[in-house]
Each structure stands twice: as structure tokens, then as C-alpha cells.
Symmetry: D3
Subunit: 247 residues, 6 copies
């Protein structure tokens, strides 16, 4: 199968890291096609940036997935920006890395904590937990104090900060598993697991595997109500967006 | 005070109706400035359209509110698209019509129901209730079967459909108040109240009044975490957006 | 419009302070008529005192509001004592200062904390949050250790204690806004906001504004079920109560 | 032991029926002393009447329980009016018939329904479920359409209406046990159980037994916070109340 | 009446202690018959041990209760292992010590905390709270760090550890009552209450009393759905189990 | 990888069907080893049968998984009997078919409904939803009225009943996806999806895929607290159990 992995921010190095992690986790026979958000910001750390990322992700998916060129879509930013919108416009199933990480984590421990980037991400994380309905399984949200790009650029510094936050989550909050709450942490799951002593789940890997599962099961997004394709309506706006969404 | 009321869709006639309702409800001394989404779709009825509307609303607000030209912002679409993002970029407080309608409704009855446009809006309404935390006060979401534009264009047809749905909500779901779940229903609150026999709350009016209250109280958005202004980062994308958000 | 603001305790100095704050927040054209509970205790800090305050408030409202003499009622004690009962007997809408403070606070931040008087108020505050359905938006209840009357009599001491509690709520509990959880804190909102750095909402001001909003919108209490006027029945009891409620 | 059973309304015939049921359920050695609310309304069916009943109950309990004359208090109205206040002023433990009925019902079935008097009682019942924290165990609230006094005066009519409502709760709502949601239904539990085929729990009996249990266990109300005795303060008001509460 | 109290673990000394506590709490006329799990482990501290204990308890109950030999069943392990299964096979009502302790505790304070044995019990306790629906009334789960058998064998050491944990629950978590979260703590309730200053509820005593209440009320398990007796089916397995359950 | 799929009931034909479905869904390179519960009942439809099934499953897993002979375990009964216990004794990760079906379903629609076997299964299904924390995503539980063995033996009859129940869930409850709530429905997912028009998720397939994902990600059960291996203790009981669990 062929999976489209969208990096909702504009940092190509981050797309590359996400793609590498996605490919490392993909099973034989799964091809990963990674795309960078066509526009937006180099990292997504606020509601405003999430809003931009949602539309840029939507544009990227619409441009690529419409023709059946891929079998599934991963939205690779821990806030799952635009995920529900992507489900509407994509003929193939879509999975977000936050929902995937949580879906895996709940099979491993009684409660999980999310370790996110900066403090300002905490309410966004609380909301993504609630949006997907995992609030009774989430012990806490902890933060590293590092920005997304700092996490991405300095894996060693990132690892120390993540381990410290995760250890506090285990010791003080009752966490039994850790969700790495930022795509910039991709690839650190094994080291964090080893050092903290509880499983750490990377959303990119989790999403690739969960999506493989959905595709293998022959399932796709329900069209009953929430994810019905948007009606065709006159669409105005940025040309690339109009072109992709077929206004 | 001067309030910016943003219609997140591109239908100018709907902006006009919203503006008229906002002005009708504003207290003496409140000026209402209404703007239409600079781009997007003529109505917002899906997650994808909400995503577009969020960014178009953000652009409209950033273009207008940044310089302190207004004292508050109303997002006038019942899904409150982009509301949290608007809070980040706006120096003045922002209120959504869904949250405002619900905040008013809970002072009037034990439980409220939302009467929305088409069936596909139901999950979006369920989510907006949950996002704002009103789930223990919401009796049900009922739908009219009419599109947003049908509601807007044919007030008589709209009224019949809304009344029928509201009556079912009262009789079968225990609703004691009704939230009119679409900006296209603006102005119908009094007739629906009179015919159904329970208060019907129009979000546009409610948002104008709630925002007047917040402004009069000298309050504005907290910058503690969730609504910190986005950091300045290189922003790419549609020129009007980049210009407004100052990438 | 004319609003009746009821102080549910018997301390006239507190009624005066509440009235001053209510008038400061009222818009031009709103007259505030403040009344003191006709009987009860000088402060309301326990369930028993709340029970008394509820009936005394009910008596005050019934005596005054029945003839259409006022356009709305504020119950000015943070436990909202008797609020639902007031809604039944009053022909005009009624708002409590706890529900109003919370309704405003949720438009300003992701989560709010309540700063209340003494430790024993904590469970009452937890219950008022739950009664109005704001539990998913409440970060914590913090207390000052001061009694209601100490707060009222020594604004400087009160301010220090409130600021200290609020700072802990922000730093440790994730509060992004503060609800001043006692009518005895009226008038301190601006100083607390300035010192703590997040918006502090005073319930008296919030209730006046929210009630102005409801009245301006032409809305009043639903009679569908919860707030139907009590049936006329033989009422016995204190003469002033029987006289007011028309037993 | 000696239990004080308070009928929070003023109907002496109802006190007698409650007393008879309480005595029928009391174990050997338990004496039941039943008192009628010293003032208020002949039935309690609204928030306003509940507020009056709370204070009248408080007065009755304070007048009687203070001197250690009884070992426990039952508040015998299904809204548990004034229960928390009673806990504060009473040196002995107190139980409400709603909480007791629910505590028993959850040992008998997966979900219970409450069958209440008139439709207007429904929101009050929903709130009493939530106040005591049983919402995940409550299948529904059904009503008979009869007033409290009609239930009390016409047991045959009452039985038919209760059975009909209970059967619907079992068939349509998944109820596995029924709480008789009105003290006026006391004594009908066995006939309802027999006819509906699921256990029906009468709150009066349940409260007497639960209170016997608490007393036998040597337990009494916690004074840690919520139920600390009210501080002594100057109390004004109806002489009987001031006398009882010792203002 | 005659109550069967099942100790779900295999430690006879613990059965004796449970029996002594049950008899101490039983009212005159209640006979207590205590049985030890016919097989399993000497203490129950994990999900696996709970699974074994559930079946061993089921076997013990089926062997004894089927013929109407007893009037009610207590499952005397704080995880309430097998309680719902026991309800199905027993013709008489059944109560677990966890649900009973919580049902009593909520009549005494606003929130309770559970003091459990070792840290690994915490998630099991969180789950038993949620299974019975008491999550809005539970302040926290605290642990002593001692194993079940250490608690049982060294009451003095146990008492110190329980008191320390309970004091933290009161001071830091807002607990107003304590549930002794292990049958090995039976008999320590009075000393813990006295030393901590809030009521401590022992589940064994609470269950005996709650069960006496249910039996006295003439109630038994609903057969509407959840607790219908299992259909007769070919049962294979350990001979004692097959014999007891009548495969 | 090699997965152990345990059928918790004793019906070998059902094990075969489950195995066939598991193998159909496994990716190349995954071997499925299916085992039948060593003892118990031919179907699991009650709490008592679930209790037996939990221990029999535990025995089967302990006998087989201990030596590292397999890479993961599927518990293939929709109540996930013994799942948490299996996690404790198994060195490799374990997934239940209920949790897996729900984890997949929430990526496909806004809300799912479970279609279960007989009416008596409804409360068990409600509890499994709550146990795994999916209650905010579950629209309803519907039942077919057929027993597990009827479902297994008569796929045509089963299909009609499932389709009818699923259609009602979609039309009346807002379901957008269906979880087939019984291992006896394995293999019917595609036909149900096609006929009902929303995705139907079979738990066996979903669990195999989710487990492949977990194994591929190199993750295993957290030993932080809930799923720590049981301590070694003297174990008595059925010889096969003692032998497997190493008492």
C-alpha cells in the first residue's frame, strides 16, 4: 500500500525526519510518500498555527489523495490539525498521530501522559485528548519547555528534557506509558522507553501502523454524517487551495 | 465601543443579515462593523469548510483588529470556527456565537437543545458543545433538514422547520430553551420563542451582548497559555494572509 | 432597565459595596436597586447559611419583583443561593454571580480557578461549578483562609491573600483566569488582574452585565419545566415570607 | 437507637405514612420519631418549595437533634432538601431518602430509573442524581403525571401510574431497578416490584436501613470541611428558627 | 438472617479476622458464616489474582448459596472480585466491600479517599471506583506501601501506615472520609478515625450492614438483564467448580 | 511474528472461525496460533461465564506465552475477559477484540454503536465501553436477540439480525460505524458494511492488526503499576492452572 504522510508545518527537515520514521515503521510493502505543508509556519505551536496547518494539510491531501493515488493519509502533527476535514475530502482513510499514539498507549498501560513541547502546548494537548475521547485514560500533560524546532534540531537536548518530564509523569501523575507529544520527537521513542522504564509511543510510527491496519481491514471513513464529503460550492481563495479542493 | 463581527462564510447577504441583527441587539454606543470572510465558501457546513472559515476569519480579524481599531470580535458562525486562533492574534476579546448562545441559554432553563441546519451538522454541534464544556446542560441536537443558505433565503420555510424541530426537542428531549444553531437563523429568535413557548436564543445577539459585557468589564483574553500570541515565525502562504498575519 | 441586586446575607455594608460595584459596571440606563437579605446571617459560608440565604433571598425577590417593578434579578453571593427558586417566583430573569463569573471567564481562558474565602468553602465551590456544568473548564478551587467578613472589611489584606492564591492557581493548576469566589471581593478584580497577570472576574459585575444582556435580548426564564412557577398552595411560616410568597 | 424522620412538607397525613413505613422497616430496637415540617407547603414539588423545606427541616432537626436526643436523622423527601445543611447542624449522622434509595438500587441492578411525580419534577430528579454522583448508574427519570398529594391520597391510582412508568423505564431505558421518587409513594415498593418484575426501592425504608447501618458502625458526619458546624454568628429571622439554630 | 461472607483469598487467618469484624458489626439476629476461597492465592493484589479470586468466590457462593441456605452474600476483598458474577448465580443479594464502603462514605463527607495496600493497587482502586460509578465523589487513592499480608499480620505497622496515608489524603487531596481499601485493614476503622479526625469506613462492616439493609427491605438482585442467571450450558473445568456451578 | 489468539469459550468450531478470520487479516509474515479455552462454557454471555473465561484464558496464555514462544496475544471475546490479567502474566503485549474494534472505529466515524448478541449482553457491553474509556464515542449498544452460538452457527440469520440492528443504530442513534460485538460475528464485517452503508469493524481482525502494530513498534506492556507481573505466591487450585501459572 501507499501512504501519504503530511507534515503540517513547512520545515522540510522535519518532513524528512518524519518520513524516515514512517518508513522505519512501515511494514514491507508499504510505501511512504511524505509531503510538506505547501504553506504555513515552520512549526505548529498555537491555535492560529494549527488553523493554518489544517488548511495547508487539507490542500496537500486534496491535491494528492483525490485520484486514488494513495491508500491512506497520516496527519503528522500531534494536534491532529485538520484531521476531520481531511477525512471529508479524502477518499481513503486518515489517521492523526495524536489519536494513534493514544490508541496504542491505552493497550500498554492503565493511564498515559503526554510529553509536549512548550508550556503553551498544554491546553492544546488537553483539548486533543478530549476531542478524541481519551480523557479517562490520560494521567497528565507534561511539557519539556523546548520549542518544536529545538526538539527537532537537538535530539540530545530533546531526549534529556523528554526523559525528565516523563519521569515526573510516572512518579507523580501515575503515568504508565508516555505519548511523545510532538512530531519533532519522532525517533526518540526507544531511547525514552529504555531510560524511563515505561513504553514511550511515537505518534508517527503509531499512525503508520494504525493506518496500515485500517487499510488492511478494507475499511474507510464513514460517510454517514460527520465526514460526508463537502458539497460542491463556489470556493474562492488562494489559487492552490481552490485548485486542490475544486471550488 | 466598536465591535468587529465576522461572517466566516462568503455570502454577503448573510453578512448583512448578521450585521442587522447585531446592530439591533447592540446597546446605544456600540458600533458594529461587519466583514465577510475574504475567501472560502458561501456557507460553512462541514469540517473542511470550517477549516477554511477559521483561516479566512483569522485573516479578517488580523487585518482589522491588530491596530486596536476595534474593541472586540464576534465570530458569527455557530461552529465558532477559528475562535481560539482569533483569541491569540486579536489584542481585544473575542466571542463565538455558539458559546454565547449556550452561556445565555443556561441562565434560562435546565437544559437547552440546539436546532441546527442539516443532519450532517449534528456531529459538529455535538463537538462544539463538548469543546465549550456545556455537555451536561445540552439536552439534544435537532436538525431542520435545510441547508444554511436555504435557511437564510427563506425565513418562512426556515421558521416552520425550526419550530417543528424545537417542539420535538421540548416534548421529547426535555429542552427548556433553544439555541438557534446557525447564523442563518438570525432574527428568528422572537418568533420561535413565541411559537414554541420556550426561550430561543440567537447566537449573534447573544454574542454581541456577551462581548459588550466583557468589554465593559475591562477584561480581555488571558495570555497565560492557551491564547498567547503566536510567536513571530517565517510565514508563507496566500499573500493576503501573510500580509494580515505579518509572517 | 432596573435590576434588583440581592445580597443574601444581612451585612448592610456588604450590600453597599455590592451595590457600588453593580452600579460601576451597569451601563447607562441601568438602575441598580440593592436589597439586603431581610433575615439570616451576616455572611454565608456553610450549607446551613446558604439554606437560610436562599429563603431570605426568595422572600426579598418575591416581595419586590412580583409586580414587574424590576427587569431582572441578581443573586449576589458566590454560592448562588436560591437561584433556581428565584427563577420560579420571579417574572423576570435572574442570574447568579457564580454562574456569571464562570460564563465570562470561559471566554477569556482555557481553564479558570475560583479563589474562595475559607477552606470550608472549597466543597461548596466544587459543587457550584458542577451544578452549573462548568467542571471541564475549572482548573481548581483555591482559598484565601480569610472569612467573608474579613475579606469585606480589610480589602488590603484580602487583596494580598487573593493574589497569593491566584498566583498558585496559575502556576500550579493551569488557571488562565480567576473567578473571585466571594461577593466580599467585589471591586478587587482590576487589582488582582494587574498583579497576577491573568484576567480576574468579579461575579457582581459579570452578573450585572450578563443580566443586562439577557434583558436586552428580550429573554426570560423558561417555564417549560424546571422553573415553572410554584403552584399556589397553603403556605405557612414566617409572616413576612408568607406575605411575600402569597401562600 | 432512636431516629428522627423529618417530613419536609406540612402534610401530617404524609408524615404518618412515612412514619409507618419507617417503623415497618426499622429493625427491633430502632425507635422512629417522626416530625412534620414546622412550616412550609403541603408538598414539595419545586425549587422554591425545596428551599422552604430545607430551612423548615433544618429548624426541625436543630430543635430536636442538638441535645443528642436522637442517633440519626432521615430527611424524607426525594429531593433531599437541606440534607447537607442538616449534616452541619446535627451532631448525629443524616441520610436523605434519595441518596439512600440510589445507594441500595445500585447493589441490585446495573442501572436504575427514578419514577417521580409530575413532569416538572424531572429536572429536580436529574439534579439530585448528579448532586449525589450517581449519574453513570441512572438510566432515566420517568414521571407519573400525578402530584405528590394525589400520589399520597390515592394509592391505587398511584400504583397504576407508577407501574406504567416503571414498565416503560425497564422496556425502553434499560432500567433494572426502580427508585420510587417521592415520599408519597412510601409503602408501594413491594407491589411495584411484584408487578414490574424488577426491584423497586422506597427511599424511606432505604434511608432508615442505611442510617441504622451508619449508626451501628459508630460513624458520624465528617467535620473536615463541607459539613463543619456553622460558626456562631448573629442570626436574625423567624423566632422559631432563631431559637432552634441558636443565632 | 444468615449471611455468607466470602474471603476471596486463601489465607484462613484473614477469613477469621474478616469473620470477627463481620460478627462485631452484625445486628442481633444476624448469623455470619465465613468461608475461605477454596483455591487461589493467599492475597489478592493483581488483576490475575483478582481473576482467580472471582472464580473461587463464585465456586464458594454457588456451593453454599444455591439452596437458599443463606440470605445474602458479602464479597470481602476491596476489589469486589466476581461480585457481578456472584449476583448472577446467587438467589440472594450480594454486596461487595468496596461498593459498601463507598456507599457509606458518601453519606459522611463531600469526598472520600481510598487508602490501599501497595502502589500497584492504585489502578485497581481507580477502576473499582469507576466501575461502581463513584468517581465524582472520590478525592484520591493513597497507598501504604505495605502488602495485604503485611497489613493483616502487623496491625500496628498497618495502622501507622494507614494513618499517614489518610492524613495526606485529608490535607492534600480534600478527603473528608477514608475508605480502608483492603480487607486486611478490617478492625482498624475506629483507631484510624480517631487519629485522623475524619470517619474511616471499613468495608467488611459496611457490607454487612448494607446487606442487612437490603435483606430487611425484602429486596434481591434484579433479573432484568445484567444479573440474569447464566443459562445452563455444558461446563467443563475443575471438578469442584463444575460441581458447584452445575455444568 | 507469531500471535496467540485465544478463544475464551470452549467451542472449537468457534476457535476455527476466529482463527480463519485472524489469518485472513494477518499480514504476510504473521503466524496465527489459535487455542480454545481449556475449560469453561461453550459461549460467554454472562458475568459468571466471563469470570470463568478470564481464568481459562489466563491459563491458556500462561501455558503458552511464558517462554517467549509467541510475540503477542489476542483475547478473542468481545467482553475482553481477563485482558488485564493476561497483560500481567504475559511477557508479550496483549490486545482484546473489544478495545481493538473501538480503537479502529473511532478513526472512521464520529460515534460508533456496538451490535451485540442477546439483550442480556447490553450492560456488559456498556461496561466494556466504559472500562476502556470510549464512552464519549459510543452512540449506543444494540442487540440482535440471538445467542452467541446461534450467531456462530447460522451466519445468514446472524447477518440479517446484525444488519437490522445496525440500521437502527445508524438511523436512530447517530452511529457512523458499527462494532460487531461478538466473536461469533467474525467474517461478517464486509457484508454488514456493504448492506448498512457504514463501516463495520470485526474485533478479531482489528485486534490482529492492532497487535501487529504494537509488536512492529517494539512496544510491550508497561510494568509501572497496573500490569506488574503478579508476585510469586503459593497458588492452589486446579492442577492445570497451578501448572501454568507456576504457583
Amino acid at each position: 500500500m501507499r501512504l501519504l504522510v503530511v507534515n503540517p508545518n513547512t520545515t522540510v527537515a522535519m518532513t524528512d525526519a518524519i518520513a524516515a520514521e514512517a518508513r522505519r515503521r512501515a511494514r514491507p510493502g508499504t510505501e511512504v510518500e511524505a509531503v510538506t505543508a505547501p504553506w504555513g509556519t515552520p512549526s505548529v505551536e498555537s491555535h492560529a498555527e494549527e488553523a493554518l496547518a489544517a488548511v495547508a494539510t487539507l490542500e496537500a491531501v486534496a491535491a494528492r489523495a483525490a485520484g486514488g493515488a494513495v491508500d491512506g493519509v497520516v496527519v503528522a502533527c500531534f494536534g491532529d490539525p485538520g484531521l476531520e476535514a481531511v477525512r471529508e475530502v479524502s477518499p481513503v482513510p486518515a489517521v492523526g498521530i495524536a489519536e494513534a499514539a493514544m490508541a496504542v498507549a491505552v493497550t500498554l498501560g492503565h493511564r498515559f501522559s503526554i510529553v509536549a513541547a512548550r508550556d503553551r502546548a498544554r491546553p492544546l494537548m488537553v483539548d486533543v485528548v478530549r476531542r478524541h475521547g481519551f480523557e479517562s485514560r490520560c494521567a497528565s500533560v507534561r511539557t519539556t519547555g523546548l520549542s518544536v524546532l529545538e526538539l527537532e534540531r537537538s535530539p540530545d537536548v530533546a531526549e534529556e528534557a523528554i526523559v525528565a518530564a516523563a519521569q515526573r509523569a510516572v512518579a507523580e501523575d501515575g503515568a504508565e506509558a508516555i505519548c511523545l507529544g510532538c512530531a519533532g520527537m519522532a525517533g526518540l521513542d526507544e531511547r525514552v522507553s529504555a531510560r524511563v522504564g515505561v513504553p514511550a509511543v511515537d505518534g508517527v510510527g503509531a499512525a503508520v501502523k494504525l493506518l496500515e491496519a485500517v487499510v488492511d481491514l478494507g475499511l474507510t471513513t464513514s460517510r454517514a454524517a460527520a465526514y460526508q464529503p463537502p458539497e460542491r460550492k463556489p470556493l474562492t481563495g488562494p489559487p492552490s487551495l481552490v485548485s486542490a479542493l475544486g471550488g
